[in-house]
């Protein structure tokens, strides 16, 4: 059951990511990224990170991707055209990514003996455990992120405002 769930959502993730790579129109890429993010939320749930699964759906596939689709529709972006630079990137990009993938997979599979097996529900992080670490040990970084968000809001408003 656990293996079947993992395989189903892993395949969904990879299919969505490949669709992002292959589609020509940015709105299709954005919608397939939403598929990837939502299936990643299920995978977080399988790893026992229930709070992160909820935050992934609310913040990532909710807020951030709505922002993306909003901007794509606002700019009325059409299909992208091929240029001379894109052929060079095509020739370098695919082999480079394949080499990176082979390297990472080789490292992870060679370290397989040191890594544990995941079972359903054997280690579930309760939200109060997470919050006690976040609000006690890591309070200062948490407060700094609120300043970061404030600066980001001000920067976005200042950048996107029409020139007077």
């Amino acid at each position: 059951m656990y293996l079947a769930l993992f395989i189903f959502f892993a395949v969904l993730c990879v299919a969505g990511a490949l669709n992002l790579l292959l589609q020509r129109h940015p709105i299709n890429s954005a919608l397939s990224l939403i598929v990837v993010m939502t299936s990643l939320a299920v995978l977080y749930l399988l790893l026992g990170a229930q709070f992160l699964a909820a935050v992934q759906v609310i913040v990532y596939s909710g807020a951030i991707m709505v922002l993306f689709t909003f901007v794509i529709m606002l700019l009325n972006a059409g299909r992208e055209e091929h240029t001379r630079g894109s052929r060079a990137a095509f020739l370098v990009g695919f082999p480079g990514a394949a080499v990176l993938l082979a390297l990472l997979v080789q490292i992870f599979l060679s370290a397989r003996g040191h890594l544990a097996q995941a079972r359903l529900g054997e280690y579930v992080t309760a939200t109060h455990t997470l919050s006690s670490v976040l609000f006690r040990d890591l309070l200062l970084p948490f407060e700094v992120t609120s300043v970061l968000i404030l600066i980001a809001i001000l920067g976005a408003v200042a950048l996107a405002r029409k020139e007077p």
Binding site: V14, L47, Y60, S86, T129
Partner: protein
């Protein structure tokens, strides 16, 4: 029935590599930005996997911070994209190669 945690790491590597390929190949500035988000998500999966492996919640909190930074980055980056589109009327990154028009 169990799943080795190495499989989660392999999935994360696959997603990251697809993100790198999309970052290099796509010419639309918004799709390039989406590829960056995909890479951030792949790294988040690796963080959660290692948090599960070592039974430490700090990995999950790191994912939380990555999400916050990604939200801030998306807001500012999309504002920059809107400004670029207003100035040049294009979203092709090959045509955005001058700092000043």
């Amino acid at each position: 029935m169990t799943v080795p945690l190495a499989y989660y790491l392999v999935l994360s590597a696959v997603l990251f590599s697809i993100g790198v390929a999309a970052f290099l190949i796509r010419r639309n500035i918004i799709t390039v930005f989406l590829a960056i988000e995909l890479m951030l998500n792949a790294v988040n999966l690796a963080f959660v996997t290692f948090a599960h492996q070592w039974r430490i919640v700090n990995g999950q909190i790191f994912v939380f911070f990555v999400m916050v930074v990604a939200a801030a980055e998306a807001a500012v980056g999309l504002a920059i994209i809107i400004t670029i589109f207003r100035a040049r009327n294009t979203l092709n990154i090959d045509q955005v190669d001058l700092m000043k028009l």
